[in-house]
C-alpha cells in the first residue's frame, strides 16, 4: 500500500515537471511579446501610430527624425519577394526530382549536399552576395548599385531552397505507393504522375514548406544587413539599395543609441512590425492547413 502511494506521488511529480517545462516555453514566448508590446507602446507615446504607418520616410537618427515604417516594410517585402521567387520554384523542382526521378545513388549524394546549403553561416552568404554576385550582376545590369535588393534576394533564395525542398520532398515521399501505381497503371508518364497526382496529394505539406520558406526569408537578417545597403528607401526597384526591418534592428542595436530614447524604442517598433508580419503568415499557414485537412 505504501509503495503504491509512493509510486503515485512519483508519477505526479513527473507529470508536474513535464508541465513546468512545457509552460516555460509558453512563458518565454509571452514575455517576449510583452516586452515588445511594452517598449513599442512607449514608442507610440512619442510618435503617432498614423505617422508610423503612413510616413514615407524612416530617418530616426537624423536631427529632424521621421518615423514612417513603410520604407522598411517595402524593403522587407521586396527582398522576400525576390528570395521566394527563387526558392519556391527551385525548391519544388528539386523535391520532385529527388522524390520521383532520382535513382537511389544520386539521392544519397545529392541530399546531404543540399542540406549543407542550410549549414553555411548566413554571414558567408551575405559577403557572397556583396562581393561575388553583385559584381557579376553589374556586368549584365550596368545601373545596378553596389548595394541593392536583387543580389541578397537571390542569395537568400538559394539559402532557403533546402528548407523548401526537404519539407516538400518528405510530403511527396509520404504519398502512398498504391496512389502512384494507380496513376502509372492508367498509362501516365512520370511527369504526368508527378504533376497531376503527387503534387495534389502532397499539397498540404508543400504549402507548409512554402510558408516555412517565406517566414525564413522575412526573418533573415545577416545577408540583407551586409549586401542590401542599410538605406531606408521607399521603392520596389530591386536595383536600388534598401533596408529591411531586420537589418535596421541590427544596425541600431550595434550602434550606441542611449537606452530609453525614442531612437532606442524604434528597435521595438520595427520588431513588433516584423512580429505581426510573421504572425499573420503563420496564421495564414495554420488556416490553410486546416482547410486542406478538412478537404481530405
Amino acid at each position: 500500500m505504501r509503495k503504491r502511494t509512493y509510486l503515485k506521488l512519483k508519477e505526479r511529480g513527473i507529470e508536474f515537471s513535464l508541465l513546468l517545462s512545457a509552460l516555460s516555453s509558453i512563458f518565454i514566448t509571452l514575455s517576449i511579446v510583452f516586452i515588445l508590446l511594452y517598449e513599442a507602446l512607449g514608442f507610440f507615446k512619442d510618435v503617432s501610430i498614423w505617422e508610423f504607418l503612413t510616413g514615407k520616410q524612416w530617418t530616426p537618427l537624423f536631427a529632424q527624425p521621421k518615423f514612417g515604417i513603410l520604407p522598411l516594410v517595402t524593403g522587407t517585402l521586396l527582398v522576400t519577394g525576390i528570395a521566394v521567387a527563387v526558392a519556391l520554384p527551385v525548391g519544388l523542382i528539386v523535391a520532385i526530382y529527388l522524390s520521383e526521378y532520382a535513382p537511389f545513388r544520386i539521392k544519397e549524394v545529392a541530399k546531404p549536399i543540399l542540406e549543407l546549403l542550410a549549414a553555411v553561416p548566413t554571414v558567408v552568404y551575405g559577403y557572397f552576395a556583396l562581393l561575388f554576385l553583385t559584381p557579376i550582376l553589374q556586368k549584365f545590369i550596368p545601373n545596378l548599385s553596389g548595394f541593392n535588393a536583387l543580389s541578397p534576394g537571390i542569395i537568400m533564395g538559394i539559402m532557403i531552397i533546402p528548407y523548401v525542398s526537404s519539407v516538400s520532398e518528405d510530403s511527396m515521399k509520404a504519398v502512398p505507393m498504391h496512389i502512384r501505381e494507380g496513376s502509372y497503371a492508367m498509362g501516365a508518364t512520370k511527369f504526368q504522375t508527378a504533376f497531376k497526382v503527387i503534387i495534389p496529394s502532397a499539397f498540404s505539406g508543400i504549402a507548409a514548406a512554402f510558408i516555412i520558406g517565406i517566414s525564413r526569408a522575412i526573418g533573415e537578417t545577416m545577408v540583407v544587413a551586409i549586401a542590401a545597403g542599410m538605406m531606408p528607401n521607399l521603392t520596389l526597384n530591386p536595383l536600388e539599395p534598401i533596408q529591411t526591418l531586420t537589418a535596421y534592428i541590427v544596425g541600431v542595436s550595434l550602434g550606441d543609441v542611449p537606452h530609453g530614447t525614442v531612437e532606442y524604442k524604434t528597435i521595438f517598433a520595427a520588431g513588433i512590425t516584423l512580429f505581426f508580419m510573421t504572425l499573420s503568415l503563420n496564421i495564414l499557414g495554420f488556416w490553410f492547413r486546416r482547410k486542406i485537412r478538412e478537404v481530405y
Partner: protein, 259 residues
C-alpha cells in the same frame, strides 16, 4: 491445357519466368486467357499470383532489378507485351488495373474517371463528360454520385471508391481489365456489389482476377488457375476445378487443408 480450345483467345502466356533480382517468383508459366471471359487466379499467399497479374501491365518496370523472360502475347495483333522493346506505357494504355485498396486520386469524382483520358491528351469537354458518365454507369456508381460528380473522391465510401477506381479503369476502353484482390478491403455488402459488377463487365472486356477468396473465384469466374510456389498447378473451367480437381494439391487447397 486445351480447355480453352473452343474459345477465342485474348492473350496467351508462354513460358513466363519472372525474377525479383535473383529470386525467381514465376516458373515457366503457361496460360491461355479467353476473350470476354473471367479468369481467376487462386493460391496461398506468396504463390506469385499478384506478381503474375502485374506482369500484364508491366507494373514491375517501376522498380529496379525486376526481370521478365518468355512471352505474353496479346491478340489480335500478337504483341509480346513483356518484350523490352515494347514501351510499358503502350501496354498500360490497353490493359487497365484495379488495385487491392481503393486508390482514388485527390481530385473530384469527374477528374478521377477522366484521368486516363486526360493522360492520353484528351481535353474535349463534351467527349470527357460523355465518357465519364458511361464509365460511371458501367461501374454501377452513376445513380449514387451523379449529383456530386464535382465532389472530392475521398468523400465516397470505401466500396464506392473501389467502384470509382473500376470506372477510372473502364473509361479508357481497355482490352483487358486486371483485378488484384479487389474486395479484400471491403465489407460483405460492398463485396457482393463489386462481384456482381465484375460479372456484368465480362460482356465488354476480358477479365483477370486475383483473389484469396475461393468462394469469390467460384462465384464469378469462368476459368480458374491454381498457383503454388510460382507455378500453375492446375488450370481448368471453374466448376471443374472446384468440383473435380485433377491434382491432389488443388483439392487440398480448395478444401482448406493448407494455405
Amino acid at each position: 491445357m486445351s480447355v480453352t480450345h473452343s474459345y477465342p483467345l485474348k492473350a496467351e502466356v508462354k513460358n513466363l519466368n519472372f525474377y525479383y533480382n535473383l529470386v525467381q517468383a514465376l516458373k515457366n508459366v503457361h496460360l491461355p486467357i479467353a476473350e470476354k471471359m473471367i479468369t481467376a487466379l487462386i493460391g496461398p499467399s506468396g504463390c506469385g499470383k499478384t506478381t503474375y497479374l502485374r506482369c500484364f501491365n508491366r507494373m514491375h518496370d517501376l522498380y529496379p532489378g525486376n526481370r521478365y523472360e518468355g512471352e505474353i502475347i496479346l491478340y489480335p495483333d500478337r504483341l509480346n507485351i513483356i518484350s523490352p522493346k515494347i514501351d510499358p506505357i503502350e501496354v498500360r494504355m490497353r490493359i487497365s488495373m484495379v488495385f487491392q485498396k481503393p486508390n482514388p486520386f485527390p481530385k473530384t469524382v469527374f477528374e478521377n474517371v477522366a484521368y486516363g483520358l486526360r493522360v492520353r491528351g484528351e481535353n474535349r469537354k463534351n467527349f470527357l463528360e460523355e465518357k465519364v458518365e458511361k464509365a460511371l454507369i458501367q461501374s454501377a456508381l452513376w445513380g449514387e454520385v451523379k449529383d456530386r460528380i464535382y465532389d472530392l473522391a475521398f468523400n465516397l465510401s470505401g466500396g464506392q471508391q473501389q467502384r470509382l477506381c473500376i470506372a477510372r479503369a473502364l473509361a479508357t476502353d481497355p482490352e483487358i481489365l486486371l483485378f488484384d484482390e479487389p474486395t479484400s478491403a471491403l465489407d460483405p455488402t460492398a463485396t457482393s456489389k463489386i462481384e456482381e459488377l465484375i460479372m456484368q463487365l465480362k460482356k465488354e472486356v476480358t477479365i483477370l482476377i486475383v483473389t484469396h477468396n475461393m468462394q469469390q473465384a467460384a462465384r464469378v469466374s469462368d476459368f480458374t488457375a491454381f498457383m503454388y510456389l510460382g507455378e500453375i498447378i492446375e488450370f481448368d473451367k471453374t466448376d471443374k476445378v472446384f468440383t473435380h480437381p485433377s491434382v491432389r494439391l488443388t483439392e487440398e487447397y480448395i478444401t482448406g487443408r493448407f494455405g
